[in-house]
Symmetry: C2
Subunit: 249 residues, 2 copies
């Protein structure tokens, strides 16, 4: 184990460590401005570059973010709690309520429909759905003015051709209620989760701060007879989400 | 949307885009060496710095990794599939089998026990367990020679004081089997998942390539009467894992 005060540790790391302890101890609260380069130079007797590196460590680890001309601030982590299992319970969407409603409480969630179109799905998705021809719903979720989620859902084209799933507004209860009406009620779900650094396009569309990864959630919805009726590929701002799963052993 | 060929896009991004398409199309397979700086300079008529930047984009996005003196290679993503729900089914650990056994198939998994000690838990963990005094099991999982997971489990000290949970080897079935014997069988689980960039210490202990985030999984195990008997804080190499949850709607 390295100890915080080790002499072999570079100076900027020791300063970064002290700032981190300050954040953990609540001396710097979410949204607070951290000491600036000049403050750190004076307090620790180091060069500007060293002070800058120390602040860069906190930004790279996603603990703080620079705001142009204003300084470096403790990241506000007020995450969306996304409950994988309860969230999809039939009572929710069955009664016309959005599955997303429960996640965000009283916060202002806007759903931008980027595109609804009939298209060929990527090969991996086509393999799961048993055919390339799909209706695609491409959406972006914006919470309190900040984009937090990119979501692209694929449905077998032949299955949903004449339903509201092909329209801008899927109606009360959303796509799952429509699938149920069509006789393809989703009853079983698989969610696969990965994380990686964003592509330039994702960083742009989610307005990600530097040093923020994305979480990829790929959800597949199955009917009682095991047919996959939706693949939903989601890209989440990792700084905005906690995913939660509760289950019996 | 930006198009790949847009003139407003910097050259290095266009080259990076072409390399990415090559990876997606399978022209460069996992483990393959990508064209080097000299190749890219000749092919695209660009300066060395531009070629280097293009390769840096792929590394930053975690699609490729540099090997010293050998070039830049397509990242091999042969993930561990961690099944959150089936994995914890009682039949598994009840019969003396490790819950980890199912995740890695025939691959070589070594578990390094870093420390087993009686200690005060961090405040948040103490809050969940209803007391700060805990037995702590700190372990590192190494798969095929590569560290993939840091795992620290906390158990209420009074509950496990005289059990094998306080020893190096917890015995057949592991800690959950011991908890069951003590009359505190875990039957319900909550897993909370986040992702962020690693701290320097985590990057070091997991030997993470640049541009690789970590996934944090915090699991809490509950008895039938709702008592939390374990909090397990895990730090996963995001490049090594797919987490999977299957559940009924």
């Amino acid at each position: 184990m390295t100890t915080a005060g080790s002499n072999r540790e570079p100076k900027y790391r020791r300063i970064a460590g002290a700032l981190k302890q300050g954040i953990e101890a609540g001396r710097y609260a979410p949204g607070d401005r951290l000491p600036g380069e000049n403050d750190l130079m004076a307090e620790h007797g180091v060069a500007r570059m060293t002070a800058r590196q120390a602040l860069a460590v906190l930004q790279a680890e996603g603990l703080a973010e620079a705001r142009k001309g204003a300084g470096v601030f403790v990241r506000e982590f007020r995450p969306i709690r996304r409950r994988g299992i309860q969230r999809l319970a039939r009572e929710r969407w069955g009664s016309g309520r959005s599955v997303w409603g429960t996640d965000v409480g009283d916060r202002d969630l806007a759903v931008e429909v980027v595109e609804v179109a009939e298209k060929d799905a990527p090969e991996a998705v086509a393999g799961v759905l048993g055919g390339a021809r799909t209706w695609v719903r491409d959406r972006r979720f914006v919470l309190d003015g900040k984009p937090v989620l990119l979501s692209v859902s694929y449905y077998p084209a032949a299955l949903v051709a004449d339903s509201a799933i092909t329209r801008h507004d899927t109606g009360a209860g959303g796509a799952y209620a429509r699938l149920a009406e069509l006789g393809h009620e989703p009853v079983r779900f698989r969610e696969e989760i990965r994380s990686r650094m964003p592509t330039a396009d994702e960083a742009d569309r989610l307005r990600l701060a530097a040093g923020t990864p994305v979480v990829l959630v790929c959800r597949t919805a199955f009917t009682a007879d095991g047919r996959a009726v939706e693949v939903n590929e989601m890209v989440l701002d990792a700084g905005s989400y906690v995913l939660e799963y509760e289950f019996e052993g």
